[in-house]
Symmetry: C2
Subunit: 278 residues, 2 copies
């Protein structure tokens, strides 16, 4: 089977063309944000290959029932994604959450049966692999980032109060620092031992430790994988978070914590594995 | 296969003798708390039947590797449970957490593939069923009661701060009321519209709603089942908890919340199903 796997992110579209599991071509282009330009971009990529299945890793929310896609960080809402893709040729179409697919890819690449993945970035995504399969509940994917860790806490992007995402994300780091600043800048300051910047990453690490401990006590997976843009600055928070995690999670846990191995390509490989399994 | 299924609780030992799935005999006796008396009790039950497998639902912690059982609400610690049972005859032995087995029983009885069960009592136990199977992580069972919902919150029985169990349990209710009081008495006061007693159940409901919402967002199961002694007083907190849950969990969730159907017999049936599947 020939599969074209696309990972559609707010900044880049990455794509891989596979024959079976064999990678034949890989590409990466900047994501166009306007609806028509974006559609042309996708068309352009698809025209370049002959394939049996198209598999997409996308940021949610996507309403599969009504085929309505409202990606964050894009100016368009309620885009009929599957309907649009169907018009481009005769192939099977798979659409799945990018964090879920990243989790699937990490589990396959490492040969691990039970794994939880967190994407640390603008938001806080998650994917759960149980018995080597992507876990999807009743209707939508696992949203660990929207579990409440602070009762009556800060208002989250989802409208609730005290969700993990409100404390473990780029926006949270900026809040801890006290003003809007690029994460690259904030990290650079922290590495130069700026007190306020260091403190911001320390607070971040404390909250991350709580979430890691909750995941260990709830799922007790073999491994928690951290991925996403913020892992590039792992030197500023990971050691502290893992140490605090160790003091909080049940002693019997043998759950390890590691940074993503596939990083940039997790979405593409996840989309591949997802298509192969369905 | 003939199976003797025992549910060992702090107050009662319940047991069922099955041929296949067919219940042939059921019994219930008060649990003796002293180690030797307790051992005699178990011996007494076992002698009454001829069976191929003995399956036990027990309160944790149980260290399966080293065969050390340290049940809460019992005065003995580090009891070599499996070793003791082995000496009583030639049969297969299964030992599993009571909340886990209650979850398994509810899932089987209802024909539901993805389900989370909470036991509301002295502590806050949990069991998770995924794809019709009991989910056990890396080494121990799912411990949702020890996920943190209040950063730097109250100290929990496990030593951590802010665990759900510290806010959603008999002890928590007593704390909200302000003094030690039996739950029966507290419930009776609340039903007579005593303000302080009513308030205690309201606070309880608020925290329960947070945990239910977290479970829905993390697992999004078809159903969350509430079991345990406190469900007898569900009229005092369930309606409020479910309403708040509805306003907090993702709108797309179709996760329902119900009281246990098997109640008293969930442990026994869970032990049966567990033995049949292994």
């Amino acid at each position: 089977m020939r599969i074209l796997a696309l990972d559609i992110g707010g900044s880049f579209i990455k794509y891989g063309f596979f024959e079976g599991k064999k990678l034949k071509h890989i590409g990466k282009i900047k994501t166009k944000k306007r609806r028509e330009e974006f559609k042309d971009q996708i068309k352009g990529i698809i025209k370049g290959f002959k394939f049996d299945a198209l598999s997409l890793a996308i940021p949610y929310p996507y309403d599969a029932k009504r085929d309505l896609w409202s990606p964050p960080n894009f100016p368009f809402r309620n885009f009929k994604l599957k309907n649009f893709l169907k018009q481009l040729g005769k192939f099977k179409i798979f659409i799945q959450n990018d964090a879920n697919l990243a989790a699937l890819a990490e589990a396959k690449a490492r040969g691990i049966a039970n794994l939880v993945l967190l994407t640390l970035g603008t938001g806080l995504g998650s994917g759960v692999i149980i018995n080597s399969k992507l876990y999807i509940g009743n209707s939508y994917a696992s949203e660990i980032g929207h579990s409440i860790i602070v009762k009556n806490g800060l208002t989250c992007s989802c409208g609730n109060k005290g969700c993990a995402e409100a404390y473990i994300s780029v926006r949270a780091l900026q809040r801890y620092y006290g003003k809007e600043i690029s994460i690259e800048k904030l990290a650079s300051l922290a590495r130069k031992r700026d007190k306020k910047a260091k403190k911001a990453f320390e607070i971040f690490a404390d909250y991350l430790a709580i979430l890691l401990s909750n995941i260990a006590n709830i799922f007790n997976p073999e491994l928690i994988v951290l991925s996403g843009g913020l892992t590039h600055f792992g030197d500023l928070f990971l050691k502290q978070a893992v140490k605090k995690f160790g003091s909080m999670a049940f002693k019997q846990t043998r759950c390890k914590i590691e940074i993503s191995k596939l990083s940039d390509l997790a979405g593409v490989y996840g989309a591949l594995f997802y298509a192969l399994e369905h």
